[in-house]
Each structure stands twice: as C-alpha cells, then as structure tokens.
C-alpha cells in the first residue's frame, strides 16, 4: 500500500514537472506585441519606497504616450544589475535602457553596447543648459555625455538642534570646519555623555570630503584628462581627513556604528549621537522619524580652506545599441520625459533627491515640499555653488568601487587604533597597484 502511494507520488510529480516545462512558454519582455506600440525594456535598481514611486512615474509616462510602452524591470541592487549587464550587455537580450550608479560610469561608457546620450542630444539639438551642469559633468567623458542623470544627491551634515540647544551650541550656526566639529562633539560629550559625531564607513564620504576641499583623488584630473597613474588620496588633504577622524575617535567623541548607509541613523534618531553625515536623499525620511528638530548643513572643510561643494551621487540612465533604432528613439523619448521639470519635481519631492532640471525648482509640488522640509535645500545650495572642475566629478576609473572598499578598510583600521598616516599610505599603495 505504502509503496504504491510512494510510487504514484513520484510518477505524478514527474508528469507535473514535464507538464510545466511544456507549458512555460518564454515570456519575452522586449518584443512588440502590437504593431503600433513600441515596447522598451528598462532595467533599474529602485527598491523600497523609491521603487514604488519610480513605478508610478513609468506608469504615468505609459499612460500619456500613444505608442510607447516602457517595460520597467527591477534587477536587484546596482551591483546585481551591473553583474547582469556584464554578462548580457553584448547580446540581444540586453534591454534598451540601463540604470547604473556613478561608480560604473567608465565601464559603461567604454563598453561596446552603450549608445552615447550625446548622439540623441546632438541629433535633436536638445537643450542641456536647462540641466544642472554639475550633474551632467559627472557623466561627461571627453566632451561626450554618455548617460542622462536621473537621481542626484550629495552628502550633507545632519545635526540634532534640540541637543545643540541643550549643550549650549548655537542651533542656527552649525560647525563648518573640522576643528569646529571636534569642539562641538566634545561639548556634546561633556554635557550629555553622548557621542558627538559619526558617519557610516562608506568610501563615498571620503570622496566628498576631498572634493569639498577642491582636491583630486587621482592624477590626470581624476582620470578625466587621461588614464590615471597614481592615487592622490594620501596627500595633505586626505591625511587631514584621516587625522580628523582619528582625533575624534581617540577623544571618544566619535563612534563607528558600521558600514551600512543606515547604521548611523538609528543612534542619531535615538539621540545617542548629535551630528552625522548622510546622503541628502534621506532627509525626508529622517526628519519624519525624528522626535526632535533636525537641521542640515554642508560638509565641513579643514580650517582655512574654502568649501568647494560636492560630487553628485545617485544614478543615471543609459541607452544601449542592442535594440532597433525605433526602440532607441522611444527610449530617448522616455529619457527626455524623466528630466522634464514636472517629473523631476515629483521625483525630488517624493524621494529627497534634488532635481537634475533647474526648472523643477519652480514647480509647486517641489516648492511645497521644500516649505515643509527646508532641510532639503542644503543639498541644492551646495550643488549650485559647486564649480565645474574635475575634482568635483569624483575619480573616473573602472575600479572606483574597489577604491571605496580600500578606503573603508583603512578607516576601520584607524578606528581600531592604527596610525592614520600609515593606514592611508597603505591604502594609496593598494589603489596604485590597481591603476597599474
């Protein structure tokens, strides 16, 4: 009896499996189902609430367009997506539009499957002056724009205004230099016993602190005027950053909470630390969750150095040449839509990114958001002041991702007592090895 049951289970299962295989017809996202409607595949990495908001933008585009349908597909994190593109970019399976973060911009620009955005811009005399120059510059290599920025953010300093009042710091006049932050952090520590300052151990912040001093990360203009040969992270400016972190760490006014974006947020929101750095894209969320008053300020500079501004973070969109010309045109229509003032204003107000398009700042929806969250304006102002220099566009290299983890490891060494100069020199050496 038992045996029969077992045997028939196996038999039925086999039938089910092969039945399913026969049924599972290929569902191809990129093919045109209808003769009039052009289907365009778009791979992106927007998840969480950003994902929901992003899908809304795509849907609105599809609704207002007569003949284009954007098929947006979530492809995991930026790393997951680029993994997939590395394997599939050169095949017919590649999508029409790819979203990527800035660290992969050199790889994509030099790949065979990306159609420079410049081509579509030139063909149509599309006016790029309406876009933020600083955002475009990050994706321009040798006068060619390879991708269209979509989400832009930079790093800003968040501080707890209530705590500032409590310890006798001026809540409307935040510290703006390294030593001012050190002093403020000490004051917080002395008065409350809490930590004064923290930042997640993410290499991006080091890049930002370097850029804010107007200093280069790599030689040959950060790789923009030629292949970089040497890392400049351990020059005076970089050493200053490491020394500054080491001072606070030794004074126990700084605490390392981890290497994830959100690691410092919880202690900040719980009032365990007074000042921290975060991406400007999170201001909305953090302000909403905080039981105290929050303000933001630009990142600090060493004493006596003029603040330069910030490198934009976020992502940009690429059009591939693996699809028909018709699909490329349709993709370009969508790209234009994503940088139209209305869409950028909406995207900025629901996410916390600042708009790529200048005119978006005049849209009511964004103005209202800024009224409600004036903290968001810091990033916009910093961006407006940022000059068009290679130092402000971040290091341009295939190994940008790895540079970051090298710097992160060096930072972690310092937090555990390593000499900051030694740690940074070793990191620079490792980056140099990669440049060979």
């Amino acid at each position: 009896m038992n045996r029969n049951i077992f045997g028939s289970f196996l038999f039925v299962s086999l039938i089910v499996v092969f039945g399913l295989m026969a049924c599972s017809n290929k569902t191809d996202g990129g093919s045109e189902e209808d003769n009039d409607i052009i289907s365009v595949t778009f791979w992106h990495s927007m998840s969480g609430e950003n994902g929901t908001n992003f899908e809304e933008i795509v849907e609105e585009f599809n609704n207002q367009s007569d003949n284009i349908h954007i098929e947006s597909v979530y492809q995991g994190s930026y790393t997951d997506l680029i993994t997939k593109i590395r394997a599939m970019g050169n095949t017919d399976e590649a999508p029409a539009i790819i979203q990527a973060s800035g660290t992969n911009r050199k790889y994509l620009a030099e790949s065979d499957f990306v159609e420079p955005m410049q081509k579509f811009i030139d063909e149509e005399d599309f006016d790029t002056s309406q876009l933020e120059e600083n955002a475009l510059n990050r994706y321009v290599i040798e006068d060619t724009l390879y991708s269209m920025p979509f989400s832009t953010s930079n790093a800003v300093m968040y501080y707890n205004k209530d705590m500032f009042r409590e310890v006798g710091l001026d809540p409307d006049n935040p510290p703006q230099t390294f030593s001012e932050i050190e002093d403020a952090a000490q004051k917080i520590k002395d008065a409350t016993g809490n930590y004064g300052f923290t930042m997640a151990t993410i290499g991006w912040y080091f890049e930002q602190l370097l850029a804010n001093q107007g200093e280069l990360y790599l030689d040959n203009d950060n790789g923009f005027s030629g292949e970089p040969t040497k890392s400049l992270v351990n020059e005076e400016a970089g050493q200053g950053i490491f020394q500054w972190l080491d001072n606070m760490n030794k004074a126990e006014t700084f605490k390392n909470y981890g290497s994830d974006w959100e690691d410092p947020r919880a202690p900040f929101l719980a009032g365990q630390v007074g000042i921290y750095f975060d991406s400007s894209a999170n201001i909305r969320e953090v302000v909403k969750q905080a039981p105290f008053e929050i303000a933001t300020a630009p990142l600090p500079v060493p004493d006596g150095v003029e603040p330069h501004g910030a490198t934009v973070g976020g992502n940009s969109n690429y059009i591939t040449n693996k699809v028909s010309e018709e699909e490329q045109k349709a993709a370009w229509e969508f790209i234009k839509y994503t940088v139209s003032p209305g869409v950028q204003a909406k995207w900025a107000s629901v996410t916390g990114y600042f708009p790529v398009t200048k005119a978006a700042n005049e849209e009511d929806v964004l103005k209202e958001t800024y009224d409600e969250f004036p903290q968001m304006l810091t990033a916009v102002e910093v961006n407006n002041k940022t000059p068009a220099e290679p130092a402000m566009s971040g290091p341009l290299s295939d190994d940008g991702e790895q540079f970051r983890s090298i710097i992160e490891a060096a930072q972690e060494k310092v937090y555990e007592g390593e000499d900051p100069k030694k740690a940074l020199d070793e990191a620079a050496e490792k980056i140099n090895d990669l440049l060979k």
């Binding site: 569902t27 995991g76 993994t83 394997a87 719980a270 894209a281």
Partner: protein, 269 residues
Amino acid sequence: MMRKIFFYIILCISALLLFAPILYAVSASFMTPQEIYAGALFPSSINFDAYKEVVNSIPLFHFLWVSFVMSFMVMVGQLAVSSLSAYAFVFIPFKGRNLIFFLFLSTMLIPWEATIIPNFLTIMKLDWLNTYQGLTFPFFALPFGIFLLRQHFLTIPKEIWESAQVDGCSRLRFFYKFALPLSKSSLSALAVYGFLTTWNKYLWPLLVTNDNSVRTVQIGLKMLIAQEGSSQWNVVMAAVVVILLPTLFLLFIGIKYIREGLTAGAVKG
C-alpha cells in the same frame, strides 16, 4: 522522575534559545517604527501595518507561487536524478564506478560563485532565460543528494537484493519496488532539503529572469528593502516572516515523515 524533569528543563532552555531569533523577528514585525527605535523586545499591541505594506508593495502571492513551482520542480528533479545515480553506484557492480563516484563527489568542492557566470551563459545560449527550465535544470544533479542516498542504499541488506533476483525481479523493478520505499527517510530528508535550498536562492533567479512573471519571493524581499534609504525594520521583519512561513510550515509537516522513516530504519537495524 528527577531525571525527566531535568531533561525537560534542558530541552525547554535549548528550544527557547534556538527559536528566539525567529520569535524576535515575529515580534518585531508587529511593532510600530517608534517601538523599533525605542529598542523594544515586544510590541505593545499587535499591529498589522507592516504586513499590509508588504502585500501592497509587491505582487507577493504571485512571487510565492513562482518560488513554489521552482522549488517543487527542483525537488522532484533532484530526487529522480540522485536516486537513479545512487542506485547505480550501489546495485550495479560495473567497473569504474568508484572512480565516477569520486568524480561526482569532487564537484561538491567547486565554489558555486565560480560556476554562475558560465552557467548563465549556457542558459542564455539554450534560450532558456525567463523559463522554469533555466531556473531549475542546473540544480537537478546534486552530488550531496547522490552521496546521501548512496549511503542509505548501502544499508539495504544484501539478502533482500539476492532473494529478489532469485524471484526474477528486474533491476528497474527492484529500484522502485524495494530500493526507493526502503529509503523513504533519506528521500524525504533530501526532498525537504532540495525544496528549501531552492526556495532560498536569490542570485540565480535574478540572473536568469527579466520579467516579474517568473520572479521569486526572495527577489521580492530585496525589492522591499531600500538600497541606500532607511530600512523600515518592522516591514523588513514582516517580509522575513512571510518568507519563512511556507518553509517552516513545510518543514513542520515534512519532519513527521522524516522521523517516521528514521524510526522505521531504526527498527530494521
């Protein structure tokens, strides 16, 4: 009596310690964000907001279905392929079988990360992207499963095999009339193992599918977590619980059969 009480105390403490992480996840999934930030261990009231958020933001039930089909197919495939191979290694005395067996075993040593890109290219060449074949075929041959079943088949007394041969039982018939039913415990253990490990895959399904219609629930979990944004821990924990429920449920049912099989094996000695 004292001895029993002593064992119950140890058992209870062990069970509590072992299960605490899961209980904590369930507890956190019912919390409000404020309670999370206050570092609470238990929610003050049962709050389903996080679950609503999970169901509303992704096509959860569809993802669960795809995960189920994929895991079921791999389970069946692994059972079929592993039992056939293990049977050959034990009951067919052909030359070179030990060599082939060790060759099979050696594949257990291959780091999975090394195979993923070549396998992906293979699936692409076969034009199997976005299909269940592409999702499942690479996992059908499981050296661990072959190893496990071989060890079990070895415990089947030779007398049964010999008397069956005397009765004129063919190899294939012995396979499904005797060998398989006598190995129910190992087969169910392998089935549960195969189902669960497939259910838990993330990178492979992500690579070989480009379409939400063949996306699995693990990808859904990732879709809920903002990349650089703030994680809402209560929502994340709710998603974790939703993913855990089917597998824990299956395990709780399956464990009964595994245990029965194991006791049967014990009696047989």
